[in-house]
């Protein structure tokens, strides 16, 4: 009996067991189903997502920096080019003890104190994870020596890089400008303009001059290499390569030889010269003295040199031609004369009797001529040749400020010329509206008088003055002045002219124009204020001297050059063009604290013209000839 019970129990237990086993099998299938669902989710629903992630893991895109475009002068002389050199670079994020590493490195390659300073400066400016040069331009011996010791320096590498070089050094430095390492400010700008992708891998960017303003042309288009990398970031193989497109080459309108002649003509003096081809707007020479060596900036300037340049009293980094503002002084008079004739306030026959001063009706205040006692009988021709102030005091008063402003601004004074480098300032051609806005004061009749001789509120840059002279020389045709003549597409070879059409044309009475031209030619002839500079010229040489005050003189006080601190002496100015009948070159010269325009500035113009028109090189450095002009003082 008990046997059957046990047997039945056994059978029931077996069924129980099999039920449990079946439940287990269901459990297994359920969980396998769960795994399958997960597979389906990952491999079918989300495949694209994970595929993208896997590719992002695997493929890193490394940029290939394009070669920067070259810069030539108008005759094909090289002003900026690239050369390949080895640099020793440190990845600061990969080096534990920088100081110790650099000390160790100094045993292998020469590392000067200035290299260390520069490196520190770069560290402060650079992005993280960037490789920074501790030494540039390694010699072959140094490269070999480092290669043998490389294992001792993790995070230090030798790289072949393209360097920018400016073979002319200081020559045309303000025009060509320089490139330097991209700093955080540049980076922000690149990001804002949407160019940051094209600068991945680029270390340099144009900072001033043509290098800056034509950055887009010069930089080129960055190429890309798709590299397969492993988890450790090592490149395994190259998957695809989009080659970079080199930057476009620039052909400047500048004549490097003429530029050199002009720069040498300044000698040690400070100043600026801008020479323009009035038939095209080509800037033939663009001088700002002193200059600087742009090569210093390329690898990141060291603090010593920087302090030297930045703290110099001569301010070599200041582009005087572009940004220096000076009262135009008597160089303003030809434009005033033309205004008088064009606006019929003066006839050629009109003569004044100059007693040496001008007074407004009902006022005792005397506006003095530079010549005590005056020039006697003066017509418009003589007023330019001898630079009579009294004539222009009266003319200014008769024209009134509104007419002066609207007429002269046609010559671009008080406005940006639109030259193709950045940083230009607009100077100042005063007007009633300006005075109200700026000084909250109404315009007084007395204000107009000194404006008439280029003083008072008047401020111009040498560039503006040259531009105005070019318009005058071409009888009213204004081409936008430009330093870059042509851009050559590096890929297609296509050449594009920067400026082809005149910006605007002014219509003047040819007779009036001719009268002004004739007077300006006589300025450089015996009896004129620039007679010495014009002596023996083989072409007709039109010019106008000018002097601009640095410090004001009290009523009745006399300007005695020898008694005045050198830096407070007047600036010498000269505008000129030649040959007068069909001008090929128009220029403005400024010599800071040079004194008289005819003595200090005009000879420089003569040297420039002699070279440009005759191909004649100056015998030696420009010598300052004896005084033959007096400046204008009020």
């Amino acid at each position: 009996m008990s046997g059957t019970v046990e047997l039945r129990n056994h059978g029931r237990e077996l069924r129980h067991f099999q039920l449990r086993l079946a439940i287990s099998a269901g459990f297994v299938l359920l969980l396998f189903g769960l795994l399958f669902a997960r597979f389906f989710y990952l491999q079918v629903s989300q495949r694209e997502h994970y595929h993208t992630l896997a590719e992002a893991n695997r493929i890193s895109i490394s940029p290939i920096v394009p070669n920067r475009g070259l810069i030539f002068d108008r005759n094909g002389e090289v002003l900026a080019h690239n050369y390949s050199a080895y640099t020793l670079e440190i990845m600061p994020s990969k080096v534990a003890n920088l100081e110790a590493t650099i000390n160790e490195l100094a045993n292998v390659v020469e590392i000067a104190a200035r290299d260390r300073k520069r490196f520190k400066k770069l560290m402060g400016e650079s992005k993280q994870f960037e490789s920074l040069p501790i030494r540039t331009r390694l010699s072959d011996v140094e490269v070999a020596r480092f290669a043998a010791n490389r294992y001792r320096f993790p995070g230090v590498e030798i790289k072949a890089r393209l360097f920018r070089q400016y073979p002319k050094g200081e020559g045309a430095s303000h025009v060509v400008g320089y490139i330097s390492r991209i700093n955080s400010q540049d980076l922000q700008q690149l990001e804002a303009s949407g160019d940051s992708t094209n600068y991945r891998g680029s270390d340099y960017i144009g900072k001033i001059g043509v290098e800056q303003s034509y950055e887009k042309e010069l930089h080129g288009i960055t190429g890309f290499e798709e590299v397969e990398t492993d988890a450790a970031g090592r490149a395994v193989r190259v998957l695809s390569r989009t080659p970079p497109i080199s930057g476009n080459n620039l052909k400047l309108s500048l004549d490097a030889k003429l530029q050199e002649v002009a720069e040498q003509a300044f000698g040690e003096r400070r100043g600026a010269l801008v020479a323009i081809d009035p038939t095209s707007g080509d800037v033939l020479a663009f001088v700002s003295k002193p200059g600087f060596d742009p090569n210093l900036f390329v690898d990141g300037i060291d603090s010593e040199n920087w302090d030297l340049l930045n703290n110099s009293i001569d301010r070599p980094l200041n582009n005087r031609a572009l940004r220096g503002v000076y009262p135009p002084g008597s160089t303003f008079k030809p434009f005033m004369a033309l205004a008088g004739l064009e606006l019929k306030k003066r006839t050629p026959q009109y003569t004044i009797s100059d007693a040496g001063f001008f007074s407004l009706p009902g006022s005792s205040h005397r506006y003095r001529d530079w010549k005590v006692g005056g020039h006697g009988s003066v017509d418009i021709h003589k007023s330019l040749v001898i630079s009579c102030d009294t004539y222009y005091y009266g003319l200014a008063n008769d024209l009134g400020i509104d007419k002066i402003f609207s007429f002269i601004s046609q010559f671009g004074l008080g406005k940006l010329t639109g030259i193709d480098i950045e940083g230009e300032v607009s100077g100042l051609l005063p007007s009633q509206e300006w005075k109200m806005r700026r000084h909250k004061q109404k315009w007084y009749a007395g204000d107009t008088i000194s404006v008439g001789i280029g003083q008072g509120y008047n401020l111009t840059t040498p560039l503006q003055l040259a531009f105005a002279t070019a318009i005058l020389a071409s009888n009213g045709t204004a081409f936008r002045p430009h330093l870059v003549k042509q851009v050559t597409n590096s890929k297609t070879g296509a050449v594009r002219d920067v400026v082809t059409q005149p910006q605007y044309t002014l219509n003047f009475n040819p007779e009036n124009m001719q009268r002004v031209h004739n007077a300006l030619v006589d300025v450089t002839r015996p009896g004129g204020t620039a007679a010495r500079a014009g002596a023996g010229a083989a072409y007709t040489f039109a010019g106008k001297t000018g002097t601009s005050q640095v410090i004001g003189m009290k009523q009745g006080e006399k300007y005695v050059e020898s008694k005045i601190n050198e830096r407070h002496r007047d600036h010498a100015l000269f505008i000129a063009y030649a040959p007068a009948e069909k001008p090929k070159i128009a220029l403005a010269v400024l010599v800071e604290n040079g004194g008289h325009g005819g003595a200090a500035a005009a000879p420089i113009a003569r040297l420039v013209f002699d070279y440009h028109l005759l191909g004649k090189l100056p015998a030696g450095a420009a010598a300052v000839t004896a005084d033959d002009e007096e400046g204008a003082h009020d």
């Binding site: 056994h10 067991f17 287990s24 297994v28 597979f39 491999q43 992630l53 893991n57 397969e228």
Partner: protein
Amino acid sequence: MTDSTRLWHYLTRYVDNFLLGGVLLLMLIGLLVLYSATDANLSRVSNQAINMLVALTIMWLVANIPLQHIMRLAVPLYLIGLMLLIGVALFGEIHNGARRWLNIGVTRIQPSELMKLAVPLMMAWYFDKHEVSLRLRDYAVATLLLLLPLFLILRQPDLGTTLLIASSGFYVLFLAGLSWRIIAGLVIAALGSLPVLWSMLHDYQRRRVMTLFDPTQDPLGAGYHTIQSTIAIGSGGVIGKGWQQGTQTHLDFLPEKSTDFIFAVFSEEFGLMGNILLLLLYLVVIGRGMVITANASTQFTRLIAGSITLTFFTYIFVNIGMVVGILPVVGVPLPLISYGGTSMVTMLLGFGILMSIQTHPKLVKT
């Protein structure tokens, strides 16, 4: 019959061909994947092949032992294992922050590996002894037999092994008929204790647990493994990138790619199709184990066969679950495929027992 066929027949008497076939196919896949995962490292692959041969030999030996003998070993094996575990706790060697190894002069052994079989054997033996009248007290004793080694292994610490032994023990309890009410009670108690446990954790421990659920919180630390393995699997798509073509694998983004994460290699290169094939092969082996279990004639054989089969499944589920990112990362290999000899031997020892149960004359109770 010729002599050689007779010899062959004699040698394969106790081998279950069905089970052997499944195991060999899985091993073949394992070698192929390993070849790719090790970047065609033939010495690693041949090493693994030797591991497999050793394990297969052991399986054959065990298959030839009648179950009564194996049953007789249950108690001594368990006791030796327990003593060794105590030995580990006292004199064990520390590797990678865990005290798992015991130096017994000749070689180093890992007693927890032995317990993977010794614990279910012991529990099955116990239930077999008390088969006639199973009472609540018997389940309690069996549970104690399970918890004792578990505690020692958890302390080492070795979460993966603890989990596997715990589940192998639970399967014995479950198959032995542990009442549903107690199972439900245990589940509720476990869930109920979670908030209490959570509140006892340190901040950093909680963070670590959170990482297990959301690997993106710690992409370079603990989460890295899961992130990279899910990328590997997901990017494999339906048909996979092709053998030896997995970018995650061959560019070293996958960690532990020849051991615990080898499934990601397989899945990246063979895709959803490969995964389905692999799961089906595993199902074949598990199914055969279930059939053997169902056919087993004694309480001991039934319980041990069921436990071995379900533990084999647990290995697969926990490993793949962790690689596909639905389970926390614990050190559990993918059976028959992950590189390594120890787990291979343990696994095939279990299959040897299954074969022995299936092929030796059944003892039918009268």
